[in-house]
Amino acid sequence: MDARTSILPLELSGVSFTAGGQRLIKDISATFEAGPRTIIVGPNGAGKSLFLRLCHGLIKPDAGQVLWNGGGDATPHQAMVFQRPVMLRRSAAANVDYALHLKGLPRNERRELVAEALARTGLSRFARSPARVLSFGEQQRLALARTWALNPQVLFLDEPTASLDPAATHSVEEIISAFHDAGTKIVMTTHDLGQARRLGDEVLFIYRGRILERAPVDRFFTAPENDLAQAFIKGELLWWRRGEGAEENEDREEGE
């Protein structure tokens, strides 16, 4: 993206995260390059949200490292859209403006960026409405507008269309595509496998805190290598396998 030095690749090495006495993310190593859109799938509680928050820097791993382009502070150049939009008690435009204010932009530069971001997300007519009375879908678009104004190099999205209707989902997907076209690296979780196909270039399958498969989107959906990934895309529940081969490692580890 433009002349800035890139914060990518993002490199995780041996990342683990423990909470409440449980290892929730287990020794994950992965590299993310600029370009391909990464879609993260996996059952509820697999650790997808934790994984995004570790990448984004909201939580710190208790083992391993999260490195942006070999080190350095990437915070200003990456953004995250949460499953539930969090809006301040002020107007839609002021919410976008506040994000730019935190980034340190002077007021006169902010105005134009705010207007552009709202226009991009089709929210111009809501500019002066209090953000929190907007519908859920509108608030999610506003979250994307806020992010658009920040012009990040990397955007993490945690189930951005969960509980949106088809039309709202469509417009959110279009905005995500616009980010991609503008050169922003997309890393997104979803439970909507159709959406994974539509938006993804590669798929990352997380199960019980581990990455079990990472493959280009076509191959993931046609010929996944991991048997749990196969079961997952066929919509079969995964818990019935408890105690079988694939699980043995897990159980031993959790007993640590």
Binding site: R53, P76, A79, V86, L102, K103, P130, R132, V133, R146
Partner: protein, 234 residues
């Protein structure tokens, strides 16, 4: 019956006629309580926000203390201020006992814990709602303070109004440290107490009506603020 009826009529005349004695008492009351609430806000707001947002040793103790101080009996506060300001007390040299300043000090002590404790609750709730989003946007708790205060503005204002309510209705502490001296430290509550004991019901009733109107207005304002906030921001 006619005595009380007469008292009402006289009270009405005092209020409508802006009786100078009555006006003086009302003005002093307002001056003392407003100043006390102003100071208590200046102390309690940052204190409450700090306790809400920062982790430090003894934080739990501070929270318990603030909550306990909220219910502090005014006479105890009066006693403490009295002992501190009396001639033999640590601050006796300033000669503040039986002055409006002493009453302001007592009211600040009464109101600050209320404002601090409620502010802590408001700010802590907001922060737990906003934390991840604000951190993601690059703001830790310190940078978030202005936004949190602004977003809590309606609730915080009701908090301040509650503080004003407590300050202006309080009688025990200001009686002890102010002494209820005519033209010097006589405020509405202490005047009512005195006039009733003297049997001058007219002045007491007049002041009582004003006090009720005042606290009614404050409560109505608080209620309307809250409603407006809910309507506007959900």
């Amino acid at each position: 019956m006619t005595d009380i009826g007469n008292a009402f009529i006289q009270a009405f005349e005092l209020v409508v006629g802006l009786d100078p004695d009555l006006a003086e008492i009302v003005l002093l009351s307002l001056k003392v309580s407003l100043l006390a609430v102003f100071l208590a806000t200046a102390i309690g707001l940052p204190l409450g926000a700090a306790v809400a947002l920062f982790r430090f040793p003894g934080r739990g103790g501070v929270i318990v203390l603030l909550n306990a101080l909220m219910g502090l009996p005014p006479v105890v506060v009066g006693l403490v201020v009295y002992l501190t300001l009396s001639r033999a007390g640590p601050l006796g040299v300033f000669g503040l006992l039986f002055t409006p300043t002493a009453m302001i000090i007592a009211q600040v002590l009464l109101v600050t814990p209320i404002i601090a404790a409620l502010t802590r609750q408001v700010i802590e709730d907001l922060w737990s709602e906003y934390e991840e989003q604000l951190r993601s946007l690059g703001a830790g708790p310190a940078r978030a303070v202005p936004a949190l205060l602004w977003d809590g503005r309606y609730t915080l204002l009701t908090t301040v109004l509650a503080g004003f309510g407590r300050a202006s209705a309080e009688v025990g502490a200001v009686m002890m440290v102010g002494g209820n001296i005519d033209h010097v430290t006589r405020v509405m509550t202490t005047a009512i107490a005195l006039e009733v004991s003297k049997g001058d019901l007219a002045l007491a009733l007049g002041l009582g009506v004003i006090l009720i109107v005042l606290s009614g207005t404050v409560n109505a304002a608080a209620f309307m603020l809250k409603e407006a906030a809910i309507r506007k921001h959900g």
